[in-house]
Symmetry: C2
Subunit: 491 residues, 2 copies
């Protein structure tokens, strides 16, 4: 606890500490190569009191590192606009590529404590936030990230002295915010909040309290912890956490083979319904925008199932200023080098906007599983990680809808052949589509498992019968409109 904290004596005299610090600094420099070789990403989270010396410590740590392999996260700028996104968004967005170090000049602890003490969060919301943080740290660990969490401690008197010093000069005065002064004013309330937070988030990754009153101690202690962490990480190699199952509120899903694909809609009826639904969606989008409700819509389905045309009908009535369609192809190198959910976290809509994903994070448990692009424990673990991700979206207030656009194998064959035989459609069909078609049974198994394990009450899967594309479109539009209406009523 911060109140009782006293830096343990390490018996080093000044000269000895200097030599040791230098040695550790050199060691850290050399460790960069190990990180690169072993493809390990490292996050150093530096939390602590205002004016405790977090920025200076980070500068000390990176001063000898190769700038190609390290970067600094600054909460100040990263949290701008944060209230339009889920709590974890700015932090997930910042996670480094493998082989690189990220130093964070305060992060999720300060953000949490700030919200709590600022009275922005009720007890229940705060508990939820702690859960988010713990899940985030576990996901980082399970996906091979090394995380070091430091808290730089100074006394109330020391802080008061430093803040006064900063305020005494024009060039440094702007650095002291009202928040910083409030911290010193309510020092004991903050100390309790910090203590609570550390107690509640110390299980997966431990917290280390460091003494900020002496710069040389601080640097030495941080270097020692960081080099130890990297040593241990390099020895153990990149981690791939084992799969496990948390208890999510799952919906019962029908067997794919039991889905009645004969349902269809006449052209006239389709036209009429389409027009009415699009009018309704257009009206609803206005309210969604005004009420700042985020909407996340996910499309998955067989090749040639009609995802593209379906998406176009859905997007048509929406205000183009308020939605984005994200086609998801294989990840680019900088995406592959991070947690697999990173490229989706970074594409989340601002509140009040729609994000429509044409294929999604479920690639992890379909193509990546079947093609062996990740290890078995990785995709096995993904069901849970994805449920957690979607719960974050739900807790943020998002409407989350997931569509499996479904056809049978014969229909796919007809559509493939039609594409092959129609010159202006040939570009839509590739060798890979034919190869994937061969793997229909494997996909069917993967899809069934996915539907069973990830259809939650707050982010349900809808199986959309799409042998008749007209029927499929109307069904999707109706589900979306109903869900939006319901969300509007709740808000």
């Amino acid at each position: 606890m911060l109140k009782e904290y006293a830096r343990p004596e390490d018996g080093l005299d000044k000269e000895r500490r200097k030599t040791e610090t230098k040695r550790l600094q050199e060691k850290l420099t050399a460790q960069q190569i190990q990180l690169k070789d072993k493809k390990l990403p490292v996050i150093v989270l530096v939390e602590g009191w205002a004016a405790a010396g977090k920025g200076g410590l980070i500068n000390d740590l990176i001063s000898e590192l190769d700038p190609r392999f390290s970067s600094v996260f600054s909460a100040d700028s990263a949290l701008r606009d944060a209230d339009r996104y889920p709590f974890l968004y700015p932090f997930f967005k910042a996670i480094p590529e493998e082989g690189k170090l990220l130093f964070m000049d305060s992060g999720w602890m300060e953000a949490a404590v700030k919200s709590r003490l600022g009275g922005k969060l009720g007890k229940k919301d705060y508990a939820r936030l702690l859960r988010s943080v713990n899940r985030f740290e576990r996901q980082l660990r399970d996906n091979g990230y090394l995380l070091l969490k430091l808290f730089v401690n100074i006394s109330r008197e020391e802080q008061a002295k430093r803040l006064k010093e900063l305020r005494s000069e024009e060039d440094t005065r702007w650095r002291v915010s009202a928040y910083d002064l409030g911290q010193n004013e309510d020092y004991s309330a903050f100390r309790k909040a910090y203590d609570d937070f550390m107690a509640e988030t110390g299980e997966i990754t431990p917290w280390h309290i460091l003494d900020g009153s002496q710069k040389n101690h601080l640097k030495y202690d941080a270097l020692r912890l960081l080099t130890e962490l990297i040593d241990a990480g390099a020895a153990a190699g990149k981690q791939h956490g084992a799969a496990f199952e948390e208890d999510f509120p799952l919906l019962e899903m029908p067997r794919l083979s039991e889905v009645d694909l004969s349902v269809k809609l006449e052209k006239d009826e389709y036209k009429e319904e389409l027009k009415a639904l699009q009018k309704r969606l257009s009206r609803l989008h206005n309210v969604i925008y005004r009420k700042k409700i985020p909407v996340v819509i996910c499309y998955e389905g067989w090749d040639a199932a009609g995802k593209g045309g379906n998406i176009r009908r859905l997007a048509y009535p929406l205000d183009p200023r308020g939605f984005d369609v994200y086609p998801i192809a294989s990840p680019e190198p900088h995406e592959l080098a991070r947690h697999y959910l990173w490229r989706f976290w970074t594409r989340l809509p601002r509140s009040g906007h729609f994000a429509i994903f044409d294929r999604t994070w479920y690639g992890r448990v379909m193509v990546e599983r079947i093609e062996g692009f990740c290890r078995e424990e990785d995709w096995q673990r993904a069901y849970n990680e994805i449920n957690e991700f979607e719960e974050e979206l739900h807790d943020w207030g998002a409407v989350v809808l997931k569509f499996w656009i479904h056809i049978d194998r014969e229909t796919q064959l007809q559509r493939f052949e039609n594409r092959q035989n129609t010159p202006e459609k040939q570009w839509k069909i590739t060798e890979e589509d034919w190869r994937n078609r061969e793997k229909w049974p494997q996909y069917e198994e993967a899809v069934s498992e996915m539907l069973d394990k990830t259809s939650t009450t707050y982010a349900p899967w809808h199986i959309i019968e799409s042998n008749d594309k007209l029927y499929a479109r109307i069904k999707v539009l109706r589900i979306v409109a109903d869900a939006l209406e319901e969300a509007i009523d709740r808000n």
Copy 2:
């Protein structure tokens, strides 16, 4: 001119227009494949009066397109935070990849007119802005972009009617901003401003005025223009504009062979100067931050010249919340698919921040030139394009400094061998480094030409003698500190 504008009769009756519109829509759908095959990027800029139907038109145009190949730019959200960046920043950031279409729901015209009429720009600043726009459009054209510029026109009465309608319902009221109402109020002032803008930016890419009073006319006209543009573009193939030379204020640079590389600094003197300079830089960074002056620092140099160590000494005294170091390697696929300056535009610092580039956009006229990664006209044209880019930075108020870290060939050999023979340094040396070394004479020629053609008064090159790294560091830090001081005095 808008005042006299009347839609030309096209002699189509209602039925015929409907059929023609459908035909054009299908044509556009088919043209997507041509764009993909010919690697052509397309920008459709839709400007016009508030409530003229820009958003609806864009929705009509994209409704049948594959969402994988098209996206929408919305000025509303893209211009948030724009005052911390150069005028062109949000637009350059938005340019599409090759093979894709970007539809812009207003862009640089509205932004320019808004600033002008809002009284935010003096006459001189506005003239500069027009120059920026014209250069931007020329750079797009010269780098293979197809650009269609539309202005959707409605009368004052029609606009008043539509705004009233929107305001009459709760769900659409928020769409009408004070700015929109002001537009209707000062309709003739806006009309003049639009006319002026079109007159002054119509030379490189023509403007097309469209009649917004009838939705079906609007859609048909826009489709006709867009399909014609793509036809012509596909027939001509991707453009690579010829090189040309504008008149920039160039500095006389010394021959590389004449640089005296024997200069050096004793360790003691170095330590003392380093300490003093870092203290000075730390103080200056505070002022830079407070005065919101952007700083862009570019490092280029021979392999093993000592760029990394130099950058670390410069970054050390800076506040980590206020700078980023960008190591520049070969472009990723999504970067390669755009204008080569895109990945630098998108990394510009916010005003008050530093961006330090470890290698830069000058790769275009060095490695890309020598390895044949671009055509001759591309790198020949780049000198001018780069001077323009840097002038944008200067006009924005940025301090722009460029360092060529210089060593001789013997020194490089020693350092290479030293790396090869020191186990913990071996990762720093690759086969490619040795291959590049073989091309020293070609690089020397390219570097000389670069220095001669791009050292402008507002973004000068500094040759840094780095056979002695200590000397090089002190020289860079002093140049930076002096330049910051000067900028602070001016602001």
